[in-house]
Amino acid sequence: MNIQFNILKKIIHSRFRKQINKSKLLSSILILTSSIFLSLSAHAIGPYASRNDTVTDLGTGLQWQKNPSLKPHNWQNGLAYCENLSLDSHSDWRLPNIRELKSLVDYSRYYPAIAADIPCQSSIYWSATSVASDTQTSAWSVFFGNGDDIWKVKSMSFNVRCVRAGLLGAVRK
């Protein structure tokens, strides 16, 4: 930033001494804008790029609903809630699978076990993955207090946080 500041100072200084040079003015604007973008992007090189209603995980490429559903849903209604969600001018939201949901967990944190940028209750969240056994009546869910994955009977009601492909990711069959 120091170097850029010096360059700008020099350009502005020379403008007062000499004639106003259009190209100098333009290039100084260019340098200024690029330095602003550079410093902004430096903050985004973390795991998460946050917007008003969504959070994009640059590690997985997934875009997440920032604020989960206000009221809990059972598993079937959770699927429907995400399919019908329209957020950040996108409508291709869906309920995350268990692997995607667990990619949000930060196991170095506790109650909630998730990055501080993401508003989250230390409660259970549904995934779209069913337990692959005909003797079970459950689907996979994640308890965000400590990040444990838990089988929960599908008729029970829990929180829902939707996801979309974002940068890259799952594609509908």
């Binding site: 850029q4 360059i7 020099k10 350009i11 020379s14 040079n21 190209s23 100098k24 290039s27 260019l30 340098i31 690029s34 330095s35 973008f37 550079l38 992007s41 640059l58 590690g59 997985t60 490429g61 598993w75 079937q76 699927l79 429907a80 995400c82 399919e83 869906r94 309920l95 699978n97 268990i98 692997r99 995607e100 667990k102 990619s103 196991y107 944190r109 506790y110 779209a128 993955t129 069913s130 337990v131 692959a132 056994s133 005909d134 009546t137 459950s138 689907a139 996979w140 400590n146 444990d148 994955d149 838990i150 599908k154 008729s155 890259l168 990711g169 799952a170 594609v171 509908r172 069959k173």
Partner: protein
């Protein structure tokens, strides 16, 4: 004495081009940077070192600016030009065109669409679930869009896992780049001993084995399978496998994965469980 007769449009154009290309490569590079994977440009896999990436980003933004200052405020003499630059200035009728070498580079960047996959977990491996289930968890034909129960795991695809059996009791996951030891020695350890076992392991001519983190250990879980809940080539000794991830809530506990159903459990570090070591390829 050479005096620079600058054409202001030239450095400005180069500056503009650099400015534009900066945004295009930023997208590729940041993703690649985070995950240490090669970027794909026109089918060629280009491995970008952290330092190269950061310096080229800085250079693309700063270099045009520095050159503009040089040629507009100083005589060529003050720039202490190299032989090559003097020749270049002479060839261009006394004009100094900065950063000529950038033009092909910038052109390549400009015409390259942002594409390819660079990150270790980008996209995440698919869960493996292929069947659809109803609200009572009975298998049903997958519902169509707009009908109830649509939007299940099986209706969206992630990246299909790609395993190679190296036939030396190790398995390579081509997607994550991780190399796993096949389970089946029947050895069980406490958590601390499991960490040192993998650290000290010399196996398949390699010595950089380590105990996998929880996320790595779960990356081979196949949620479409049950008993065991992973591809059979990994082996499953019917119980818990240690991860190196400690449980934050209680320092006496660490995370493990039960290989038969794929679920994680936080268990006491003094318990003895199985071990699957991992190393980062190649």
């Amino acid at each position: 004495m050479l005096k620079s007769k600058t054409d202001p449009s030239e450095p400005l154009l180069v500056s503009l081009a650099c400015f534009l290309s900066f945004f295009l490569i930023l997208y590729k590079m940041i993703l690649g940077l985070c995950q240490n994977k090669p970027a794909t440009i026109h089918g060629y896999q280009i491995y970008i070192d952290h330092h190269v990436a950061i310096y080229s980003l800085i250079y693309l933004v700063f270099a045009p600016a520095v050159e503009i200052i040089k040629i507009q405020n100083k005589d060529i003499d003050e720039m202490k030009p190299t032989k090559f630059r003097i020749q270049m200035i002479k060839d261009n009728g006394g004009r100094y065109i900065p950063q000529l070498w950038l033009i092909p580079f910038v052109t390549i960047m400009l015409i390259t669409p942002p594409s390819g996959s660079f990150a270790e977990w980008l996209p995440l491996p698919d869960t493996g679930q292929t069947a659809c289930y109803d609200a009572n968890n009975l298998v049903i034909p997958c519902p169509s869009a707009g009908t109830p129960l649509f939007g299940q795991d099986a209706q969206y695809n992630g990246a299909t896992p790609d395993y190679v059996d190296n036939t030396n009791q190790t398995i390579t996951d081509l997607q994550s780049g991780l190399i796993w030891t096949r389970s089946g020695k029947g050895l069980q350890f406490t958590w601390q001993d499991a960490i040192s076992y993998c650290d000290e392991l010399v196996f398949a001519n390699q010595s950089d084995w380590r105990l996998p983190g929880k996320f790595e250990l779960e990356s081979i879980v196949d949620y479409g399978k049950f008993f065991p809940a992973s591809n059979k080539i990994f082996g499953c000794e019917g119980s818990f496998y240690w991860s190196s991830t400690a449980h934050m809530g209680n320092s006496e506990y660490a995370w493990s994965v039960f290989c038969n159903d794929g679920a994680d459990h936080w268990v006491h570090k003094s318990n003895k469980y199985y071990v699957r070591c991992v190393r980062t390829g190649p």
